[in-house]
Amino acid sequence: MRTLILKSASSYLLPVLLIFSVFILLRGHYLPGGGFVGGLVAAIAFVLHAFSHGLDKTRTILKLHPGFLMPLGLLVAFLSGIAPMVFSDLPFMTGLWAENPIPVIGAIGSALFFDLGVYLVVIGASLTIIFTISESA
């Protein structure tokens, strides 16, 4: 599938899709979206790049092995879960919210970090699966 059109389009689509995935991640608390969908969109961006440019080039863009994102994401989600236990003496996974909302992003809470963790795990897991399959194919 090394066509010129796909190759040039995917170079532009990669950053656009990544920004779109972050947008979906952030709007997910009250509206459709969230970490899982955002992670899938981000994974698709890299998969499209790998289709058009080859797996090795995508690997060099990613710099680290996608499998590394899984424990990282789990750690972020885990820390957001135990944060209320450590900091404010509340039960496991209680939502903590910052008082003042930040422009563009909105109110920041521990739920966002949980979603961020899911986002990273989904990218890591789906890219590991797809890269492994396309390697052996």
Partner: protein
Amino acid sequence: MTNDIIILPLVVHLFFSIVLMFFWNKVDFQKIFSVVANFIALVVAICVFVFVYNNGTQVVQSGNWEAPFGIVFVGDMLAATLVLLTAIAGFAVSIFSTISVIRARLRFGYFSVFHFLLLGLNGAFLTGDIFNLYVWFEIIIISSFVLISIGGEKNQLEGAVKYFALNFFASMIFLTALGVLYGLVGTLNMADISLKIAEVQNRNLVEISAVLFLVGFGIKSAIFPLYFWLPASYHTPPSAVSAIFAGLLTKVGVYALIRVFTLIYGGDGFLNTLLLTLAIMTIFSGGVGAIIQNNIKKVFMYFIICHIGFMIGGLALFTEVAMAGVIFYLIHDIIIKTNLFLISGLIYRIKATNNMKKLGGLYANYPKLSLLMAIPLFSLIGIPPLSGYWPKISLILASLNAEQYWFFGALIFGSLITLIVIAKLWSEVFWKDQPKLSLPKKFIYFDQLRLGQKFTFIFPVAFLTFVTLYIGFGAEHIQQLSQRIASELINNELYIDAVLKR
């Protein structure tokens, strides 16, 4: 919020498995870390147990959502005891895994998944929400799929497929039962369901949902006639994996049955008759299956099935004496079954086979080890004063009091079969002379291991044997504990009041 301590077993296991994932390629580090981590988890479990023992049932409302709406974690005496037993078994198996499981398997995240399995088990014991129980079951079976198929040998994958298919089916039925139950009562909190199910008019539908739960949990805990996946799959993975499966995976099904049939469907006549019939059939078929097997691991597997029947039958009698017997048997069984599979792994390491016909002369060559292995085997039979003896007294007494002579007969039959088969195993494996056969050359035998490596085989067995001896000789403490748990289970108002803060 000091009662947060009851979810610490979950937090530590989750944390340890994440750390182990970061060190994916460093197998030697993982070995040491996992053993240390399991030791820490054991300390945490002891703290949880002592805390619950002194302060009664603890409830944590995760996310700070009030009880019937949010997911609660309930640490009652039964849950705390099982968390402690999980930690003991996990500690022993993690030490056993370090040398006995080959490097090619450890390289694929064995220890990380092992901690996820323990996380799932602890979660299933501690949760007070029935849908959350389903989620923990999923975590358990996904981790166990990885553990059973890691390594990818042919017979291993064959066992894994059978295991996968039937357990997935069980999950589906469990989910169906959940749907029916939720449609009836409109809540998922087990304490809340317990209150509301009495008011449901349509009793037939209640019984249907109960039978669906029975089938779902029955497949997982391997009761008659749903146990066929167990003998087909448990002997295929390495002994360390079989040990944790044998000790805890079927028992989590028994735990779920105990929880659901005491808290939600307590004392229903039809269901108790059904459970009792199934228990008698389970004891009978498991016992008969054990006689004809020649592989040590397969013998032990049929014992798992046989002895599940003891617990289910006691649950069906639904008296305090019977429940105390069930809980005592559960405590005894988790430790002993884990130990038996570790022993079969040790025998395999010594002789490179688990076939009784090819084994022999163990007692002549390893008298001290044989003594060590004799204790769990005799405890399994229930020779007084070892640990299997005490719960059987309670169960037999309860069956006579309830005038359930068929179950009484089944108990005697199951004990007798155990005695016969262990006697056969003892004479074949330990007393008989070693038959002449060509042993595989490319195998690292027990004698060729260094002292430290031998230690990783013997210490877990000795540790679990020590716990078994304590259960036998300190039976008074365990009996008190079991009676306390039994009265908590039968008088479930305590549990409901604690969860709903009435």
